[in-house]
């Protein structure tokens, strides 16, 4: 069975998570082999997921750690018998 681009788009997430059923996977792969638009969508999505998961995207504010540990220290001291 030949599937259209917009059907392939519906499967991109499951394709990346490797959770597509084998028969759908086969159709998607067949489509990807000759469709450069869908291949570019897949590659760009995969690339974007790697970039957004990088620690550097959400930077800690200056002094964050010191303030956090100071508060924890206060809590620990408050509990001390």
């Amino acid at each position: 069975m030949i599937i259209e681009c917009k059907h392939v788009w519906e499967h991109i997430s499951d394709y990346l998570d490797q959770t597509l059923p084998p028969e759908v996977l086969e159709q998607v792969e067949k489509h990807l082999a000759h469709c450069e638009i869908c291949s570019a969508i897949l590659d760009s999505t995969r690339n974007i997921l790697i970039l957004t998961a990088d620690d550097r995207v959400f930077e800690l504010p200056l002094g964050f750690s010191q303030r956090l540990h100071a508060r924890i220290e206060e809590e620990i001291r408050g509990m001390a018998p």
Binding site: E36, A40, T45, T52, I72
Partner: protein
């Protein structure tokens, strides 16, 4: 993160036995993750820092009830998630998140159609404008998509863990995650390609 190399159950047992100072060490590898999640939820650095502190304090106080059937990191993230969500409810009870548009599960997201993708290596994150672009795109997602994306693709929780943490079904996690990813692709792919230098090499 090298948390596998640490014996966390043993650290926790030691803290509970009275070595409370060890809690500082226990949480060090998780500071950034908890903060990133809070920031992505709350979109405001001061609120995110506050929620992060509250979450760690709560984890410390509730440590005796940590059963060890989940990983410490997962348990911690759940505490932070609840903290962030209740903060959003309190804060936005006054002002609804109207910028997001409708937060329903209807409608499909069409990806940005390119004919070719030039891979962007992680070194590109050395550039502040790229980090900023990605950060802005994630925080601009409507909350129901943002929370799923954060837990699955940033915290690397499984679909089941994310569903349990958010109190939604597995199929909702999958649908929302797919939309979140497509929204990010639609928004980011054209911009990232434009920012890519014409030459083939990055660094």
């Amino acid at each position: 993160m090298a948390t596998e190399l640490r014996d966390e159950p043993r650290m926790i047992a030691s803290i509970l036995a009275g070595n409370a100072q060890l809690f500082h060490e226990l949480i060090r590898p998780y500071e950034r993750r908890v903060y990133a999640m809070a920031l992505s939820f709350l979109r405001n650095e001061a609120d995110a820092e506050d929620v992060t502190q509250e979450a760690f304090l709560k984890a410390f106080r509730n440590l005796p009830s940590f059963r060890g059937d989940a990983k410490f990191g997962t348990w911690l993230i759940s505490i932070a998630l609840n903290e962030a969500r209740s903060r959003i409810r309190r804060r936005d009870a006054v002002k609804m998140e109207s910028l997001d548009g409708p937060e329903d599960e209807e409608g499909h997201v069409s990806p940005a159609q390119l004919t070719d993708w030039k891979e962007i290596p992680s070194e590109a994150l050395e550039r502040k404008e790229i980090r900023h672009l990605l950060h802005k795109a994630v925080t601009a997602l409507p909350l129901i998509y943002r929370e799923v994306f954060q837990l699955r693709d940033i915290e690397q929780m499984s679909v089941n863990e994310a569903a349990a943490a958010l109190g939604i079904t597995i199929s909702s996690v999958k649908v929302r995650l797919h939309r979140a990813r497509m929204m990010l692709q639609k928004h980011l792919a054209p911009q990232l390609q434009q920012m890519a230098p014409k030459r083939r090499r990055w660094a």
